[in-house]
Symmetry: C2
């Protein structure tokens, strides 16, 4: 399996992406990785790989791309002038079938726009939706979508999100009948905006979908559903606020124990437990958001993640390739469309 990696555009530069790629190869020697970026820079990073990762170098292939898409570049600008960027060239490799999947830690809006142009969409889906898994109370996880790609959406798009989330949870995670819920300000049928009310009515008509109805914000982390659907504005705010709150709480846990026992005892006793806790709460654990609805596979890594976080995104990428997600989306969405046409 060949994975195309945009090595640039993350907050930590190519060091994190190159080391993450190397560690993914060490874990799974069946993969080969194309690294896109300014060649000299990437060569330098490979020469700096720590000793345990050096063996991966023969699986890392450098692909020169002189430009980088800046974090604040508008999507329209990226479409016009981003042709020589590491992101665009990485996507060309996926479009040409050279690589099975592309991964980037860069500018989300640009990645969406360039991916759509390079790979096209599954028929019937106008724009990709972004989805990632978040941890739930019962040690499970829940897919949330959309996470910011679509800020003003119609009820029809919310239904698309639900169907795509269902297909992903079944085929990538092996769930038999994923529980699908629609995020709202209350669970009663009278609550919410006109758009969520319409989407609710439409979702109840979908055959074979395990649709639970509305879910409130606290239900997301309670593990009440496997897929939670909302518009991109709400999903983006929910995800980022959760990251901010988790960070704050971990700091408070630390401060509370230090205040209570003094730093010495904390050093002896609490540090290992706190370290484990931090890694459990780390949003990077589930790093790797899927751009759903593309006619190919593209994974967006968190821009601020380190080598380990980038490694998780690569793992997610290879999982989606093995389960052949875009073909499943294509076939199942087509099937539903045909069934709908027939009943009309």
């Amino acid at each position: 399996m060949r994975i195309a990696v945009d090595a640039m555009g993350g907050d930590k530069g190519p060091r994190a992406t190159v080391a993450g790629a190397a560690s993914a190869v060490i874990e799974d020697p069946q993969i080969d990785i194309q690294l896109f970026g300014p060649k000299a820079l990437l060569e330098d990073e490979i020469s700096r790989l720590p000793r345990p990762l050096v063996a991966a170098a023969s699986h890392l292939h450098l692909c020169d791309a002189p430009d980088v898409i800046a974090a604040d570049m508008r999507a329209s600008q990226a479409l016009r002038s981003g042709g020589r960027s590491s992101m665009a060239r990485m996507l060309e490799s996926v479009a040409a079938g050279d690589a099975a999947v592309g991964v980037s830690p860069g500018n989300t809006g640009a990645l969406m726009a360039l991916s759509r142009r390079a790979l096209g969409m599954v028929p019937g889906v106008p724009r990709p939706a972004i989805s990632t898994a978040i941890p739930t109370r019962d040690d499970g996880r829940c897919y949330l979508l959309d996470l910011g790609a679509n800020v003003d959406v119609s009820a029809e798009r919310l239904v698309d999100f639900a169907l795509m989330g269902d297909i992903m949870a079944r085929h990538v995670d092996g769930l038999v009948a994923p529980r699908i819920a629609l995020l709202n300000v209350g669970v009663e049928s009278t609550k919410g905006s006109a758009v969520v009310q319409d989407a609710d009515a439409m979702l109840r008509q979908q055959p074979g979908l395990n649709y639970l109805g509305f879910i409130e914000g606290d239900g997301v982390f309670a593990g009440e559903a496997d897929v939670v659907v909302c518009d991109g504005f709400v999903g983006n705010v929910l995800l980022k606020a959760s990251e901010g709150l988790a960070k704050m709480l971990v700091r408070r846990v630390q401060a509370t124990f230090e205040a209570h026992w003094g730093s010495r005892l904390v050093g002896l006793l609490a540090r290992p437990a706190l370290k484990r806790l931090k890694s459990e709460l780390d949003p990077v654990r589930y790093n790797g958001a899927s751009l759903l609805g593309l006619a190919g596979i593209v994974i967006k890594s968190h821009g601020s993640c380190d080598a380990q976080g980038f490694h998780y995104a690569l793992r997610r990428a290879s999982q989606e390739v093995r389960r052949d997600l875009p073909s499943r989306l294509h076939a199942e969405l087509d099937h539903r469309r045909l069934a709908r046409t027939r009943t009309r």
Copy 2:
């Protein structure tokens, strides 16, 4: 100061509200409390008050109201048939000037509708906005609004929210120039829906407002602003998701320490620290949401709070009375309206 309390409608029944009222009186003997609900039930609760709270009984005045607004009653139904309810009678007392403020743990939609009818609005504000304070990383707090009263809002309403939040932070909390921010999916000026873009442009034109611009979800808990403005759908989801996440994390902290040290050592060492932590993370600490824009003061308590939580809501209520919040809102919003008219 007299406070009117809807003793019914919370998840824990009148026990929590009566005990909370008693404990508020013990803390501040200058207040008197009218308790609205079925008289026999309330008498029974007063007779059960624990010994340290018995002295409060002479400040608790029972006001019979036979009906209760159910948690799932629609606002329209409450308006039609809720006249003999504890919530409606509590609001009549505020409207008549008998009590200076009303507090209820009941159905939010019904409370909004009945409050608006009983008290009217500050001129120029069409519907109340709900706001509460949430804890931030630097041990500060941040007002978030709206929290669910307004799910589909215009840019003009978002500007109203910002102005009301500013007035509240200045007059109730004594901040000199509260930092106001607008919640969005990114901080760049090109990000977000048409509504937040328009609101952003309008907020930049407001004289004397310390408007920072856009803020992302993670900025809320980072303490980057004193007032964060969003529509009621987003605010409701953010608040409830945060409560759910905080609950989940406290459980994980506990589980991590138990797994690491075994339950014995936890019993000896960690329990006091965990207990303190739980209370620090408890959303009830900031219990008491303001219904802003009413021509009177009404505080919504969390429906699931206990006596201590209800006590916090009463404290919030007396604070807003002392700072005379509705008159400040009235005067300052009028002043802005006049200034706008003059410049036209």
